[in-house]
């Protein structure tokens, strides 16, 4: 068959130049691998959230429970309903079945269940709809439908009134969900309610909780709807990284494909002259690319799986620590990854080959092969690049000035990166020609001239290196700044040595009295708060005492001179940065707090940073708080004590009041936990950094290597005129290091720009707070050293190869038609 023989001829190029083939394969595999890895991490984490949100009921919404932890009585529930509270009863319990399996039984009331619990009811309604009864019949009337997690499919239930047993993928493992009355029967807890889930939209006219059911307390949701927003930005970060790595990988692919096509021009010409039609040739080339893409894609997907498996535990820990999101930390292998991995490999290959392919197709049948012509930078393409770069920067500026939202923020980042990358080759050429002009000795003059001419062939790899370095600097600066700021902020926020939470109001009262009498205790500061609306937004208002702890330590971003005295006098409110940014509030602006019956207006006395919290928050004097909200829970307190006596005091409290665990925390522990989270984030970031950087290093290596074959005609004349191969090899090595060095110097401002964008634009859009930027010059130095070592290694191999080139090889340059 004609096509087959054409393919065989084309393929012979790869067997002749196996190195090029491997460069292509590795480049494509790495690109696909990083992309798939990041996708895998994202999917896995997201599916874990989905699981978490369906688990939970209790976590997704605020709920009420008894302060003493005992079951809530049905009368209390009815009283609340009557007072305008929208709640739904939920019964929870663990039960051991005959076969020894311990099952978590959850009973819900389908009628009063809040809308927000839709995820949970979906399987229920879906099933019910099938029998045409158009509702919750199977769930509402006996026999009740029972939903079980997949692992409980074979569970034998010896209980009356059981209807269909439906296996639901949406339930976390080991869970059984059914109507509350049946659950009560299974759990043997008739008429009990574990908690009352609160619908998100409550009537404003409802009666205060303290009046209807003083024995109940409201527990704020732990994972909230905002979690999705917070984690989304984390995933967007990861995706951006994955995309960057993929783009960097594509640079390698593009470079090798271009070279392979260029070197096969003569071959293609011969094929065409001997009667192969352009169509057959094109099909053969496309088939060849497809084959390579599929092989590399497969390797890439496997690679991606390993990257993901390696990183997922840290990602999981980060998400759990930062946002309280639960991610399993274990990785499943999805068929979807194969497909998407292969698809992106194929798409990437064709994208990278597009230019080379169109050039080849447009080539006149007898066009001469000009190995150096493609390397010349024409004035026209320079202009085109400058224009494209200008458009990118203009877009970034316009979006910065007038746009908003997370996607816009990332678009700005992308535009700046691409704009800078496009600028790189010409900026380098300018600098190099400057050196060329300054050079006096003939060899150095040649060195610079040659470097400039080699630039176009290396520019893609150098762009890749610059992007990788800039990303490295940018992301490290962001995470580093975050860590530094966060730790400093923790020191300020957690100024007190001990934090204690009493079991109930009575104990809290005793604790206050006991602490007041304790000789070691310097101060007891209330941490009392209510959920309300601040300037129209749902949020928490805290009451603070007038104490030097706050005056000296509180992390204020902006404040009036008399802020603390005003707060003490009940004449000012302090708000967190998130709220200030969202509402455009400044010091002096009035802010309203919604109290159940009326609004209360106070001017802003100061704005403080409040990292890690997506909600609005405010502080007023504790007396004002108790005056406005007499029912405010008064169970939490901070204790000031000589640090050396803190541990001792903690032991005494715990002995006296039986408090421990999460109820009595010392500040060092909280800090340590927070710092651990950052260590994990660092690990993930660092790993991605290293991966991206190594892909870029590999890009440099492959382009130097593939170029080295084309370097002989450039080097042979100089060799013939009296330079040794060693000298020339040394210059080749120097050139590689020099280009990398220049790239690094240019990557530095870009990296800082990126860091600034991440801190001042992306963060503000994603979280609502802006972080100060800290620079870590020592890290850059390390990065620079690593980068230079990597480039030196990448350049050393082709240079060594040249120094070992036989003179016979070199003289061939002058003897053969090339």
């Amino acid at each position: 068959m004609r096509l087959a023989s054409v393919l065989r001829v084309l393929w012979s190029h790869w067997t002749y130049r196996p190195l090029q083939f491997f460069a292509l394969l590795i480049g494509l595999s790495l690109a696909t691998g990083l992309w798939t890895g990041v996708q895998a991490i994202n999917t896995e984490a997201r599916s874990s959230y989905a699981e978490a949100s369906s688990t939970i009921i209790s976590n997704a919404l605020d709920y009420l429970e008894r302060k003493d932890g005992t079951p809530i009585k049905p009368e209390t529930y009815l009283a609340l309903q009557k007072s305008g509270w929208r709640t739904s009863p939920l019964l929870e319990g663990q039960v051991q079945f005959g076969d020894g399996r311990s099952v978590r039984v959850v009973g819900i009331d389908p009628i009063t269940m809040p809308r927000e619990m839709a995820a949970l009811t979906q399987p229920v309604q879906g099933e019910a709809d099938q029998d045409g009864s158009g509702g919750l019949v199977g769930f509402l009337v006996p026999p009740f439908t029972v939903f079980v997690s997949p692992g409980l499919a074979d569970l034998k239930l010896n209980v009356a009134n059981i209807g269909d047993v439906v296996v639901s993928e949406n339930l976390p493992e080991g869970t059984l969900l059914t109507d509350i009355s049946l659950a009560a029967q299974i759990l043997n807890k008739p008429g009990e309610i574990s908690r009352l889930v609160l619908a998100a939209d409550q009537k404003r006219t409802r009666v205060n909780l303290s009046e209807v059911a003083p024995q109940l307390q409201r527990i704020a949701n732990t994972s909230g709807a905002d979690m999705a927003r917070l984690t989304d930005s984390f995933h967007l970060n990861l995706t951006a990284f994955g995309l960057l790595a993929f783009a960097v990988g594509l640079f390698i692919v593009q470079g090798t494909i271009n070279l392979a096509f260029e070197q096969r021009r003569a071959m293609c010409r011969t094929l065409r002259v001997t009667g192969t039609s352009m169509t057959v040739l094109t099909i053969a080339l496309l088939l060849e690319l497809l084959l390579i893409a599929l092989v590399a894609g497969t390797i890439g997907v496997l690679l991606g799986y390993f990257i993901a498996a390696l990183l997922l535990p840290d990602v999981a820990a980060t998400l759990r620590g930062l946002y309280g999101a639960r991610v399993s930390g274990e990785l499943d292998f999805h068929v979807g990854w194969w497909l998407s991995g292969l698809a992106i490999a194929v798409a990437g290959t064709f994208l990278a080959a597009f230019w080379s392919l169109t050039k080849l197709i447009r080539m006149p049948i007898l066009a001469a092969s000009r190995p150096r012509a493609w390397a010349r930078m024409s004035a026209r393409s320079t202009l085109a690049r400058l224009a494209a770069s200008g458009i990118c920067f203009a877009l970034a500026l316009v979006l910065y000035g007038w746009g908003s939202g997370l996607v816009v923020a990332f678009t700005i980042v992308g535009a700046v990166l691409i704009g800078a990358a496009l600028l790189l080759p010409d900026a380098m050429a300018l600098i190099i020609s400057l050196f060329e002009k300054l050079a006096v000795r003939p060899v150095s003059q040649w060195f610079w001239a040659d470097t400039r001419q080699q630039l176009p062939g290396l520019s893609l790899a150098l762009m890749a290196l610059m992007l990788a370095l800039a990303a490295n600097i940018g992301v490290s600066t962001m995470v580093g700044s975050f860590r530094l700021t966060f730790e400093g902020w923790l020191d300020q926020r957690l100024a007190s040595e001990l934090y204690v939470r009493a079991a109930d109001e009575q104990q809290a009262q005793q604790l206050r009295t006991w602490l007041a009498a304790h000789p070691d205790v310097d101060a007891v500061l209330p941490i009392w708060s209510v959920e309300t609306r601040i300037d129209g937004e749902p949020g928490q208002v805290f009451g603070v005492a007038d104490h030097r702890t706050y005056r000296d330590q509180w992390p204020m971003l902006d404040r009036s001179a008399t802020a603390w005295s005003d707060v003490a006098a009940g004449k000012a409110i302090l708000i967190n940065e998130q709220l200030a940014r969202r509402k455009g509030l400044r010091v002096g602006d009035p802010v309203t707090i919604d109290e159940a019956s009326r609004q209360y207006k106070l001017p802003v006395g100061g704005i403080y940073s409040d990292y890690g919290n997506p909600h609005a928050q405010a502080m007023i004097h504790v007396d004002l708080l108790t005056q406005l909200y007499p029912e405010v829970p008064r169970r939490r307190h901070a204790i000031r004590v000589d640090p050396s006596k803190a541990a001792d005091l903690s032991r005494q409290i715990s002995a006296e009041f039986g408090l421990g665990g999460r109820s009595l925390v010392d500040q060092a522990l909280i800090k340590q936990r927070s710092v651990e989270v950052f260590e994990r984030t660092f690990t993930v970031t660092q790993a991605l950094n290293v991966l991206t950087l190594s892909v870029a290093g590999f890009a440099i290596f492959t382009s130097l290597l593939t170029q080295s074959a084309m370097r002989l005609p450039q080097l042979a004349p100089v060799w013939a005129l009296g330079l040794t191969r060693r000298e020339l090899a040394g210059l080749e090595l120097l050139r590689g290091i020099l280009l990398a060095g220049l790239t690094m110097i240019m990557a530095l401002p870009l990296g800082l720009m990126l860091a600034w964008l991440l801190l001042a634009v992306v963060n503000v859009e994603a979280f609502g707070w802006r972080l100060p930027m800290f620079v870590f010059a020592r890290d850059w130095l390390m990065l620079g050293v690593y980068g230079l070592i990597a480039t030196a290694l990448a350049a050393a191999i082709p240079a060594r190869r040249f120094s070992k080139t036989e003179p016979a090889e070199l003289v061939k340059v002058f003897a053969h038609e090339r």
């Binding site: 000009r370 001239a449 001419q453 450039q714 004349p717 100089v718 013939a720 040794t724 000298e727 340059v813």
Partner: protein
């Protein structure tokens, strides 16, 4: 004597076994003398020239340039010899692609530390290159490129000039013009010239002719 080649031997290892290309070549060249080397294609003319030009190493015999033997020279010493004493003009790809014509012209002379600006200018003018000085080699025609190569060699004033079919790629008329110029200029520098050529007409213009057959000259 400028160049003395005695019993020079060179063979290549090929897939079919050892290929003895030069089997004891003897020749001499005096300063200012012009010697033509002819022979069938593949007989080893280029090989001989590369050996004399200190580009490749030989297997036996000796080559002496101004009584200095090339045998056993280090890579560095050979490079120095090429730089200081020898000028080589190949059939093609002589020029450094990244340098302009002007820089190509002066490159060898500057490398050897013998740049003579007036002489450079004169060469450029007589070789008809003045209007191309700012151009890059790939923008020139084959004949123009060869003229630059010749100019570069002459600018460096080497004692020994080796030329391997310097006009082999050019048409007859151009070839004639370029060669005339070259002979004229070589005569002015007083260098010895060893030139490989296929053209009997050109060979006739030289002082002496040698034919390489079966690995030996006669």
């Amino acid at each position: 004597m400028l160049l003395q080649v005695t019993d020079l031997k060179k063979s290549f290892a090929t897939e079919e076994g050892r290929l003895d290309v030069l089997r004891g070549v003897d020749l001499e060249l005096a300063a200012g003398e012009r010697l033509a080397l002819t022979g069938e294609s593949g007989c080893g003319k280029s090989t001989l020239l590369y050996l004399v030009g200190a580009l490749e190493e030989f297997d036996g015999g000796d080559i002496r340039i101004e009584h200095q033997s090339l045998a056993g020279l280090s890579d560095r010493e050979r490079a120095a010899l090429r730089r200081d004493s020898i000028g080589i003009i190949f059939q093609q790809f002589n020029l450094i692609p990244s340098l302009t014509v002007a820089n190509n012209l002066s490159f060898h002379a500057r490398l050897a530390g013998r740049e003579d600006v007036a002489w450079n200018e004169q060469l450029a003018q007589r070789l008809g290159l003045t209007e191309f000085l700012k151009a890059y080699p790939e923008q020139l025609s084959g004949g123009q490129q060869q003229r630059v190569a010749i100019g570069r060699t002459l600018a460096a004033r080497p004692k020994l000039i080796l030329a391997d079919e310097p006009t082999g790629n050019l048409d007859e008329k151009t070839s004639e013009d370029v060669l005339n110029l070259m002979l004229e200029l070589v005569a002015e520098t007083g260098a010895g010239l060893l030139m490989v050529t296929h053209s009997p007409r050109m060979a006739d213009r030289m002082d002496r002719q040698l034919v390489l057959t079966a690995g030996q000259v006669s």
